[in-house]
Assembly symmetry: C2
Homo-oligomer: 205 residues x 2
């Protein structure tokens, strides 16, 4: 450490801020100095929001998305298509899919992804509860929307095997070149898959 902090209170606050992901000591110091410029009320409002979100936030008992209620607004929305479940890794992915405005079904948040390297096995994430939801019936399709990584593929494979005994379609979101991407800058694995998984062009769908 190359910084001599003139105050232990300052040093402790900087240390706490720099525990946050992507925040180094220099940024942390900038944040703490900003805190010092605020009114006490503003700082109270910040700390209480942080404290409350940790202590009071609930997770939907159906889909495990973050929620202020026992069952989240998406799961309790009768206008949504309850026959389709989109499986995602975390709540940020729920928001990402919601932002597309292309999906009107329900979700299932795994809370992680199978990753033997990080010691995360199938039992550490919400796979059993997904199988249970499907077993209860009424679900026609499960869409696996996980990252296109080794861990994502492993998890996809594991879930599809677990769901095999049930009368449910299991699909995986399309992998291909991104909209707006130029072919020459696309990596060969993605381009190869995109060619294999080509779709028929029809003049009208």
């Amino acid at each position: 450490m190359d910084n001599t902090y003139p105050s232990q209170l300052l040093e402790r606050a900087v240390a706490e801020f720099s525990k946050l992901p992507g925040i180094g000591r220099k940024t942390a110091l900038r944040l703490v100095l900003d805190v010092l410029r605020r009114s006490e009320d503003e700082v109270d409002s910040f700390t209480s929001a942080v404290s409350r979100v940790r202590k009071e936030v609930k997770y939907c008992r159906v889909c495990h998305n973050i929620s202020d209620t026992d069952v989240c607004p998406i799961c309790s929305d009768s206008h949504r298509d309850a026959t389709t479940i989109c499986v995602v890794e975390n709540i940020r992915d729920v928001m990402a899919v919601e932002n597309t405005q292309q999906y009107r079904g329900l979700y299932h948040v795994l809370g992680g992804i199978i990753s033997p390297m990080d010691g995360i096995g199938p039992n550490d994430i919400e796979i059993d509860s997904l199988v249970e939801r499907v077993a209860q019936g009424g679900v026609k399709e499960v869409i696996l929307a996980l990252s296109s990584t080794m861990e994502g593929d492993t998890t996809n494979f594991y879930i599809s095997r677990k769901l095999a005994p049930y009368d449910v379609a299991v699909s995986v979101i399309a992998r291909g070149i991104s909209v707006g991407d130029e072919l020459e800058y696309t990596d060969e694995v993605t381009l190869g898959r995109a060619i294999l998984n080509r779709t028929t062009m029809t003049t009208k769908q």
Copy 2:
């Protein structure tokens, strides 16, 4: 706003984090999700450190640097050279100068810089208290270590005029090309000043 937050607690915490400088809503969400993964004790430790630094931190009554005590460790250190005062804009600059390990005198933290554009005049920053320190005697040199900007130059000029009646040397830190910089990439104003303010090379100092 393009994000639909599944929880108001989450949304409020994200809003609070994104009030911090340089933190956008995406980063704020990442930070809040990290908070949710922590233990309650860890979150308490974070919020209490932030709250305490705002409520309990003091400012040295001599140099206005942040301090846990009435007079900061630098001002009360009898090994430091009390005849020299280095004037800086804020406490980060104190740390920056301390890190050079080239300076053994005392400091004076202005808490800002004269900036008519931002409505900051000479009376909004700690200039009077600097003049008072000098007036009390015992100070031989005041080193102005402000940013090399229009505002810094204005403040330097204002302070040097205020100190003119006293028997004290006023100096400004050297401006020139940075160590390691190549000439061809140095801007012409800096290079021009560096030529004007050239120093004599001696084989031994």
